[in-house]
Symmetry: C2
Subunit: 344 residues, 2 copies
DNA sequence: TTGAAAGCGATACCAT
DNA sequence: ATGGTATCGCTTTCAA
């Protein structure tokens, strides 16, 4: 089955290739009419012939000639991460609806991988990129900007990256940290500590900032303590932090990512600690485990759908020449049993 | 910054575009030498100039001319599904290593969506497709085959789809169903039932077959019972099945997918039932909840890495002209507390 | 080992 | 409203 080209359609419909091209690119307006300078009769005939012959546009040719591809790339830091799995779907839905194809490729929290993905992206004439940058990702992102490809930073900010080709869709991470800590304090857990990653990523450090601010506001400066770990060491470190913490009289932990939350719950199970009796817990992001753990877990959720959709809108806006936007969305706190006030 | 083309490089290096093309496409052999009919000196110069000018191949042009794209598409039924999130990464790693770019797009368990994704895929000159078909996906897949694009069916079989352009990488689902049921019976849970989807998908119906076979082997024919639900109704149906089951004296349930497992555990929590005391449970696929639930949950895991890698290998093999393969991999059973033998 | 030139299949510009 | 044609950047003969 040889490939059907625009020329075959033109010949069969007895019109020029130009006409066929017009028709194939015409968008339907709300009345279902083709909005292009073509006689409706002719257009209909072309459409029928195209259908009959099984014509399919050759993207490579279109992209080569026009310089754009109607394709955007999404580069999460980790595709198997529940947060991004959810967001991906929203991004894809909206982008598709706007006539864009979406291309996913994870950076796996690695700057070199991000750079190689970015090279592929640029080689593919991709019109715009949504990226959750990993540490050191600035170089790769500047490559895109140098090639005049607009970028939306999703979830993680790089502060000294700005310009009319850089949009941002972020969570109000300070508010998230504050919310979590405020709740703990209000419920009587005044000795609340935090476990965090030494990742150098804006979202996490802002959550830390929120925690600190809340503690200060409540005159608990002396109790501020953030324990740091890395991806590799987290499992054992978290267990250690919790064990030591309980010994020292810590009554609550705030976990600013899903992975830390899961590890904390696992560690508590292993250590035979119960929540909120031995330790109150505030986790992050949505997960089945929060509702199925021995006690339901209080956690902070991000507005996935909005994050995804806003980033697509911002990106397509930029592709179409609108100025870059920075959008900051609010988190929500879902209370569970893990922060119930203790009877004294 | 205007785009640098092969011609710019040729001019600067004082060679023909042909030479540049050769050099840019040459693969390095194990000694690091470029395997192409070009003087090593010249090649080196070309490479340097390309580097200096910041040359990047224009994929659209290459693909238009050569007819292939070194790109494969992966179409899972649900990208936010943990099983596919894990497998995606393995697929991407290996494909990338083999010089292919990977393109993900979910069918969301919807035949129309699959068809539209497939259209996009075919329009993009994609060299091959790995797909986990949803019900009714046969039409879309035949489209690919009609265009001579090789396909690998991953995880789910369509039996009457065969040919030298159709590879298959599947789990031995009958064995999975058998394993689960054998374990239950061996541990004394003879009144084991199953909850399943009316999806018409091979993997699930084969798991049912395994369950039935095991029950028959143990002369428990009278106890065979499979409850059916749909995605939409699952949450409430599962709860109902479990509640009724316990009343009727059912002592175990086998849940043949992750989502059913999660819902069963949630339902039990809600109904105040404990495992294995009130009901033994065998779940499917990996999840944090299996280790963090009140009692650890026995479950069956699929060899994600192998599934991913075999499918890439099979597909690339077909792209390069090798015959199609069918590969069936074995599941593993991870015992947990949810099937502990009850003291009488 | 090197180069010239012919397309791949669209789009875009300029005519009509 | 419709058509002619140059062109996008590369790969691929074929010839030197």
């Amino acid at each position: 089955m040889k490939r059907v080209t625009i020329r075959d359609v033109a010949r069969e419909a007895k019109v020029s290739v130009t006409l066929v091209s017009f028709v194939m690119n015409a968008k339907r307006d709300k009345d279902g009419n083709l909005d292009c300078p073509v006689n409706p009769e002719t257009a209909k005939r072309v459409l029928q012939v195209a259908q009959k012959l099984g014509y399919r546009r050759n993207f490579a040719a279109a992209s080569l000639r026009s310089g754009h591809s109607n394709t955007i790339a999404v580069i999460p830091n980790d595709i198997s991460n529940k947060f991004f799995a959810g967001i991906s779907r929203c991004i894809e839905d909206l982008a598709h609806q706007r006539g864009y194809t979406v291309f996913f490729s994870s950076s796996e929290e690695n700057a070199d991988k991000l750079e190689s993905v970015m090279d592929a992206v640029l080689a593919h004439n991709i019109d715009g990129v949504i990226v959750a940058p990993c540490t050191g990702g600035e170089i790769a992102i500047r490559k895109a900007l140098d090639s005049r490809v607009p970028v939306v930073l999703l979830d993680r900010d790089i502060e000294n990256l700005t310009g009319d080709n850089v949009g941002k869709v972020l969570l109000d991470d300070v508010a998230a940290g504050r919310m979590a800590t405020d709740l703990l304090i209000e419920r009587g857990f005044r000795n609340a500590e935090m476990i965090s990653y030494t990742l150098g990523i804006s979202s996490i450090s802002e959550r830390e900032r929120g925690y600190r601010m809340s503690m200060m506001d409540h005159d608990l400066y002396d109790h501020v303590r953030i324990h740091y770990t890395t991806y590799g060491d987290a499992a054992s470190d978290v267990e250690k932090f919790i064990k030591d913490g309980v010994k020292r009289g810590v009554d609550a932990f705030f976990l600013p990512t899903y992975s830390l939350s899961a590890m904390a719950l696992a560690a508590m199970k292993k250590l035979g600690l119960r929540t909120p009796d031995d330790l109150a817990i505030v986790g992050f992001d949505e997960s089945d485990i929060y509702s199925l753990y021995d006690t339901t877990v209080t956690h902070i959720v991000q507005p996935l759908k909005e994050l995804g959709e806003k980033s697509v809108e911002a990106l397509i806006g930029m592709i179409e020449g609108k100025p870059a936007e920075t959008i900051v969305l609010k988190p929500t706190l879902i209370p569970g049993g893990s922060t119930d006030r203790l009877e004294k």
